[in-house]
C-alpha cells in the first residue's frame, strides 16, 4: 500500500537533490575546463633550426672521434634556457653524432682501447661510425646535420625518440 508513494517521494527527493548537485558541478566543471586549458603542456613550434658553430676546420679530429659540447636554446613556457649537449665529431669532420644513447638517453663514451662507443648506463656498444654493435639500444647513434661554413664546422642539434628502431625526431 505504501510502496508506491514511498518511491515517488524518494524520486522527488533525488530530483530536488539535482539542483544543488548541478550547481556545485557547474562551479567545479568550469574551473576544471579552465584548469585543463591552463595546464596543457605547450610544445614550442619547431623553430627553424639554428646552425651552431662547433669547431674551426683546422681543429677537426684526424683519427678518433672528438667529444664536443654545444649549447642550444630551448624555449619552454616563459623561459629560454641554454642547454648543453654532447656530440662526437667523427674523424675528418664529415659526420657528427649525437652522444645521446638511443636506448634510455645516457651519454656514450669513446673507448680508445676497443675503438668503440660504450654507454655507461646499460652497456650498449656502437662502432666507430656510430652503428650499433650490441646491447639494449635498438639503433645506432643518431647523426646530426652538419656543414662547413666560413672555415667552421657547424651542426644543427636535434633529439630523437628513445627505444625505437626507426629514427623519429622529437618536436
Amino acid at each position: 500500500m505504501s510502496a508506491e508513494p514511498q518511491s515517488s517521494a524518494r524520486s522527488r527527493r533525488s530530483f530536488l537533490l539535482l539542483f544543488p548537485v548541478s550547481i556545485i558541478a557547474g562551479v567545479f566543471s568550469s574551473l576544471g575546463v579552465a584548469a585543463v586549458r591552463f595546464l596543457r603542456p605547450r610544445i614550442a613550434q619547431a623553430s627553424p633550426n639554428k646552425w651552431l658553430d662547433v669547431a674551426p676546420v683546422n681543429e677537426l679530429p684526424r683519427t678518433i672521434p672528438l667529444l664536443q659540447k654545444i649549447r642550444a636554446d630551448h624555449v619552454n613556457g616563459w623561459a629560454i634556457s641554454q642547454e648543453e649537449h654532447q656530440i662526437y665529431i667523427l674523424p675528418g669532420g664529415n659526420q657528427v653524432l649525437s652522444a645521446v644513447c638511443p636506448h634510455e638517453g645516457c651519454e656514450v663514451n669513446w673507448e680508445k682501447e676497443t675503438n668503440r662507443f660504450s654507454c655507461p648506463c646499460h652497456e650498449s656498444y656502437f662502432a666507430a661510425d656510430g652503428s650499433r654493435i650490441s646491447g639494449p639500444a635498438r639503433r645506432g647513434l643518431d647523426p646530426l646535420p652538419s656543414r662547413i661554413q666560413a672555415g667552421q664546422l657547424q651542426v644543427q642539434y636535434q633529439s630523437f625518440e628513445n627505444n625505437a628502431a626507426e629514427r623519429v625526431r622529437r618536436t
Binding site: S2, P20, V27, V33, A35, W78, A79, I80, Q82
Partner: protein, 507 residues
C-alpha cells in the same frame, strides 16, 4: 501517508525559498564557494609561478598573456580575494544579529579567525606578482610593521628576512601566502565543518516506526509476536509520525535540504557574477619593478583601500597604529568576546557583549565605507590623478595585448661559479683599495672627490701588470693625483702583483 509527508516537505521548501530573510543566511555557502575558488585558482597559478625577484613578474606575465585561461584564472583569484573579506564580514554581521557570540561560540570564533586569515592572505598575496603595485604594497607592509612600538625593528627584519626588500622577502611572502595561511584556513574550515555535521544530522533524524518497534523489543517492553500485530503497528506508526511532524513544523527550523539548496543557489549566483566579471576584467598587472617610472600611482585592491586612504590622514609614525594595532585589537576583542567577563559593564547595559561587538563592527563598517568612498572620489575628482590612472591602465592594456616574449634564464651553475672566481678580488685589495674603488673596481664619488673605476683600465696605454705595480709604488710618476697615495710599503710584492693581475682581468 508518506506521500503527504513529501508534499509537506516540498511546500516547506517552497515557502522557505521565497522567505526573503532566509536568504540572508547564505553567507556561509558563498564564503565556502569563494574559498574553494581561491584554493583552486591559487593551486593552478602555482604551477607556473616562480617566487624570485628575477622571474616572478615574467611568470605572471606569461600566465596573463600567453597561457590559455590564465588571465581568467588570475582574475578569479584577484577579485575573489576581494569578495571573500566582504562576504566574511557579512557573515560575521549575520552571526552578530543572531547573537552567535553567545549561542554558537565556535561559529563566531571561526568566522572572526577566517576574516583575519583572509586579510592576511590578501596582504601577502599582493606582493607576489612583483609588479610596481606589488613592490609598493610590500614597502607599505614593511613600513607598517617597522613602525610598531618596541617590536618594530625586529618584526620588520623578520618580515623581510633581512635589512632590505629582496628576493628573500618575496620567498617569505610566497610561503606565507601559499602554505601558511591556506593551511590555517583549512584547519579552521575543517574544524567548523566537522562541528556542524553531527548537529544537523541529529536535528533531522526521523524516528522510523520499525526503529521504534525494534527499540521496544530490545528493552523488553513487548514480545516479537506482539510487535507483529497490525493494530500495535498502526499505533506506533501514528505516534512516530506525530513526533516527526512536530519536529518539522517549527518555522525557525528549515529542513536541511532547503538550507543546502539556498546556500548552493546563492553561491552559484555569486560564482556566475564573479566568473563573468573576471572574464571581462583581467586582474591588474602593473609595470615590472625595473620599468616603473616616477609618476606611477599605485592603488591597492578594493579590500585594502580603506587602509590606503587612512594612511593619508595619519602622521607617519601613527600609521602602524591605524593599520596594525587597531585592527589587531579589534580582531582580538571579537575573538575572545564569548569568553570575556563583562559583569562590570552590566550596570550600563543588559547585553555588554552585544554592545561591544556592535560598536566594533559598526565602527569598522563606517570607517571602511567612508575611507573607500573617499578614496574613489578623490581619485575621480582630481583631473591629474584621473589622467595618470587612465594612462596607466591604457599602458597595462597595451602590454597585455602584446605578444609575450620568453626570457633567457642563465645556463647551468658552472658559468656562475666561473664568474664568481673571476671576480673575487685579492684580499689585499679588500683591505686597502675597496673603500675608494669599490668591491668590484667600479669606482665611486664622495662629494667632490672622484675615484676612477678600475674596470677596463688595462685597455688604456701604460697599464700592463708591471705598469700597475709601478703605479702602486709611485702614483705621481703616472700622473695620478692624491688622494691616491703610494702603497710601496703598505703592500708586499706578492700582494701588488696579485692586485695588478686582478685589475688587468677585470671586465
Amino acid at each position: 501517508m508518506n506521500a503527504s509527508g513529501g508534499e509537506n516537505q516540498r511546500d516547506g521548501i517552497t515557502a522557505d525559498l521565497t522567505r526573503p530573510q532566509a536568504w540572508l543566511s547564505t553567507t556561509a555557502g558563498i564564503v565556502l564557494m569563494l574559498l574553494v575558488v581561491q584554493f583552486a585558482t591559487g593551486l593552478l597559478l602555482a604551477f607556473y609561478y616562480v617566487p624570485s625577484v628575477d622571474h616572478a613578474y615574467t611568470t605572471v606575465a606569461y600566465m596573463e598573456r600567453a597561457s590559455s585561461s590564465g588571465s581568467w584564472i588570475r582574475s578569479l583569484h584577484h577579485f575573489g580575494s576581494q569578495l571573500l573579506p566582504l562576504f566574511l564580514f557579512l557573515h560575521v554581521i549575520r552571526l552578530f544579529s543572531c547573537e552567535a557570540y553567545k549561542h554558537w561560540k565556535k561559529s563566531w570564533l571561526a568566522a572572526i579567525l577566517l576574516l583575519a586569515l583572509v586579510m592576511a592572505a590578501g596582504g601577502t598575496g599582493y606582493s607576489l606578482p612583483w609588479d610596481a603595485r606589488a613592490f609598493f604594497s610590500t614597502r607599505v607592509a614593511e613600513g607598517l610593521v617597522g613602525g610598531l612600538p618596541l617590536l618594530g625593528r625586529l618584526s620588520r627584519l623578520w618580515l623581510l628576512g633581512g635589512d632590505d626588500i629582496s628576493t628573500v622577502t618575496l620567498s617569505r611572502f610566497f610561503a606565507l601566502h601559499v602554505l601558511v595561511t591556506p593551511f590555517l584556513i583549512l584547519l579552521v574550515v575543517g574544524w567548523r565543518l566537522a562541528k556542524i555535521g553531527p548537529i544537523q544530522r541529529a536535528g533531522n533524524t526521523h524516528v522510523a516506526t520499525n526503529d521504534l518497534i525494534q527499540q521496544l523489543i530490545d528493552v523488553g517492553q513487548i514480545s516479537e509476536d506482539e510487535a507483529k500485530s497490525p493494530m500495535f503497528r498502526s499505533v506506533i506508526d501514528r505516534a512516530s509520525r506525530q513526533a516527526n511532524n512536530q519536529k518539522d513544523e517549527g518555522p525557525e527550523q528549515p529542513s536541511r535540504y532547503s538550507v543546502v539548496l539556498r546556500n548552493c543557489i546563492a553561491a552559484g549566483i555569486v560564482f556566475i557574477v564573479l566568473g563573468i566579471w573576471a572574464a571581462r576584467f583581467p586582474a591588474p598587472l602593473g609595470p615590472s619593478v625595473s620599468e616603473v617610472t616616477a609618476d606611477y600611482l599605485p592603488r591597492p585592491g578594493a579590500q585594502f583601500l580603506w587602509l590606503y586612504q587612512s594612511l593619508k590622514y595619519v602622521p607617519g609614525g601613527l600609521g602602524s597604529i591605524v593599520g596594525v594595532i587597531i585592527p589587531g585589537l579589534a580582531i582580538l576583542i571579537l575573538l575572545t568576546l564569548p569568553w570575556l567577563n563583562l559583569s562590570s559593564l552590566k550596570k550600563y547595559t543588559k547585553e555588554p557583549q552585544r554592545l561591544i561587538a556592535g560598536v566594533i563592527l559598526a565602527g569598522f563598517l563606517l570607517w571602511v565605507l567612508a575611507m573607500t568612498t573617499t578614496s574613489y572620489l578623490s581619485d575621480r575628482r582630481d583631473p591629474r590623478i584621473r589622467a595618470q590612472l587612465a594612462k596607466q591602465s591604457a599602458q597595462e592594456e597595451t602590454v597585455r595585448t602584446s605578444p609575450f616574449r620568453p626570457v633567457s634564464i642563465k645556463a647551468g651553475a658552472d658559468s656562475t661559479a666561473q664568474s664568481r672566481t673571476d671576480n673575487a678580488p685579492p684580499t689585499a685589495y679588500l683591505r686597502l683599495c675597496v673603500s675608494c674603488h669599490g668591491p668590484h673596481g667600479e669606482g665611486a664619488t664622495q662629494g667632490t672627490l672622484r675615484f676612477p673605476p678600475l674596470i677596463g683600465v688595462s685597455n688604456k696605454p701604460g697599464r700592463t701588470v708591471s705598469d700597475i705595480i709601478a703605479l702602486l709604488n709611485d702614483p705621481k710618476s703616472y700622473g695620478i693625483e692624491p688622494p691616491m697615495r703610494s702603497f710601496a710599503t703598505k703592500l708586499s710584492e706578492d700582494e701588488k702583483s696579485q692586485i695588478a693581475e686582478w685589475i688587468v682581468r677585470l671586465k
